[in-house]
Amino acid sequence: MVMPTERRKSSTLTVESLTKVFGNHTAVDEISFQTIPGEITAFLGPSGCGKTTTLRIIAGLESPTSGSVYIDGEQVNDVPAHRRDIGLVFQDYALFPHMTVRQNIEFGLKIKGLNQQEIQERLEKSLTQVNLAGKEDRYPQQLSGGEQQRVAVARTLVTQPRVLLFDEPLSNLDAKLRESTRLELHNLQRKLGITSIYVTHDQIEAFAIADKIMLMNKGKIDQFGTPEEIYASPRTAFAADFIGTSNILETTVRSVNQGICTLALKNGQMITGFAVGKASEVSPGDHLLVMIRTQKIRMTNTKPERGQVNILPGKCLYKVFLGDSTRCLLDAEGIRLTADCESECVTNVREGDVYVSFDVSAVVPVGRG
């Protein structure tokens, strides 16, 4: 075997119908996906949806109840964690407290049986990579949270794993540091081209760092796709609700005509949307859940002239000034809507009677109610 030196071919991670049952609780339910070599895939979902469990199964720290994990096409179910050639960065870093930064980083290299010179070279390179040069003789407890996090990353990266796994690696950092560290991580991953999985419950973090997002809910994959796809066309009410802020409305289909559906809201008002996605196969009388992003809703005192559709009379219950945007709570004849309007546009809109409007394209069907 040729020793990998600078960079090697990125690996493919494949997971097939992975299931993990704890007692009578199914933590991971028939998960299947494949990563593209060199990409970052984010596992995104609320706390308790099975992200960490899936990650631990991939790392070999937990055995699946059923299903398989493949790395570069080779099934690794029976390969123990220490032979999988995977890197894992824990949320709490889990540095070896009785070892210096240097010893922590050298740990994986010594096991690989590299010679002293190569260990030294890789150590120095990784210290500069994560900006820790000069701190190699400190113990973890003598470092700040951000520095500890970088040691955890360096310790994993030096071993040049085939797949890198991150379990909420930034959640113990304060907000400012989180953003800069995220950028550094992203750059480092891009440069090294290591196929990575990034677990987070934070939608913004997932969008910023990931090429693909695997949205999870209750142990199942809810939607898998690029951040853009998932944001623009969530395929379930859960996805619509979890990603961004949105209004989910129950409607009844009145008519479908030339790619346009007319939908009745619960209060009898009609709205119009494109008959795409979940709305492409509906017929009059069907129930349909639609999503309208809060940013897509406009609010005016006078009736808007342009566009004859999707104008609802209503009341503005109250406005909350948030800086660039103002959040407005609206009541459109019994239907509660939240709107995030540009502050400039609504400063002159008084609370009280208003018109609520949105484009036809803002109505996104997300489920069959």
């Binding site: 790392a59 070999g60 720290l61 123990p80 964690a81 220490h82 032979r83 999988r84 050639d85 995977i86 890197g87 894992l88 824990f90 709490d92 889990a94 540095l95 070896f96 407290p97 009785h98 740990f107 994986g108 096991i111 690989k112 113990y139 973890p140 407890q141 003598q142 310790r155 994993t156 071993t159």
Partner: protein
């Protein structure tokens, strides 16, 4: 001012208790200490002259030297064996699910509910020439005829390990429990096998518990009396049994007292080194 008066009042309130302590605990020890310097065989009375000859005697007489060696050997063997048997138990105890853990805790401490004397006699039956242990060993073909266990160090060490196991297991278990399981898992993911992880990560991180357990085991074993008396008999004598013999049976108070204080000195010395070792560990390795 206020704080000072409160403290004074506190001391005043405590003083009856302090007097009790002084009379009940400190006075006998001081008296015994003085007795160890008394000339002859009696205990201290005003006007008797003092000497260090009993200490010199214990250290130079070949009989006492043998007893000292016996005691040290018993302490070292018991401590090593208890550590070897206790560590795996402690590790599993620390990492067990809460249900198994309760069960293990009861198993570990249950011997303490049975009187030492009862356990001593039980072992003396088991370890006798035709006892369970000899019969089992012969049945498995490991030995051809009974080996002498009773009245040797072997029997005493077996009994002491039984006594000391909880004192070893509990501190190690709590040390292992305080190690973040992710640290162990990190080692695996970085490529370390179970054994490597144990010796490079888990064992070093559990050292505070190991040191506490071994020092406690060593100290208690060195000054033990019941097990050596019941299982060692005349064939294997240690400080505990000889002190008892000298003071209570042949009324040689000063030698018994000198031996008692030599024992105390050894234990204090060991504890001092434990303290040093722990503070070096916590400083260097920052295990706090």
């Amino acid at each position: 001012m206020g704080a000072l008066t409160t403290r004074r009042a506190g001391a005043l309130l405590l003083s009856p208790l302090l007097v009790c302590y002084a009379v009940a605990f400190i006075a006998p020890i001081v008296l015994l200490f003085i007795t160890s310097f008394v000339v002859g065989r009696g205990y201290y009375q005003p006007g008797t002259s003092l000497t260090t000859e009993h200490y010199v005697h214990v250290f130079t007489d070949s009989f006492y030297q043998k007893v000292l060696l016996n005691t040290l050997a018993m302490g070292v063997y018991t401590t090593c064996l208890t550590l070897l048997l206790g560590y795996p138990l402690a590790y599993h105890h620390a990492r067990a699910s809460s249900k198994t853990k309760g069960l293990l805790t009861i198993l570990v401490i249950s011997p303490m509910f049975v009187s030492l004397v009862v356990r001593g006699y039980a072992w003396s039956i088991m370890l006798s020439d035709h006892g369970v242990v000899n019969n089992l060993l012969m049945w498995f073909g490991i030995i051809n005829e009974p080996v002498r266990l009773l009245n040797t160090m072997k029997a005493v060490v077996v009994g002491m390990v039984n006594v000391m196991l909880p004192f070893m297991v509990l501190p190690i278990s709590s040390a292992v429990e305080s190690i973040n399981p992710h640290i162990e898992e990190s080692a695996y993911v970085l490529g370390a096998g179970k054994l490597y992880t144990f010796f490079k990560v888990i064992f070093p991180l559990s050292l505070p518990g190991v040191i506490a357990g071994t020092v406690m085991t060593f100290a208690i074993t060195m000054s033990s009396f019941v097990m050596p008396a019941l299982l060692g008999g005349p064939g294997f004598q240690v400080f505990g049994t000889i002190i008892y013999n000298r003071i209570l049976l042949i009324s040689n108070w000063p030698v018994g007292a000198a031996m008692a204080f030599i024992l105390v000195a050894i234990v204090v010395l060991v504890m001092y080194f434990q303290e040093r070792l722990l503070s070096v560990l916590t400083k260097r390795r920052r295990l706090t």
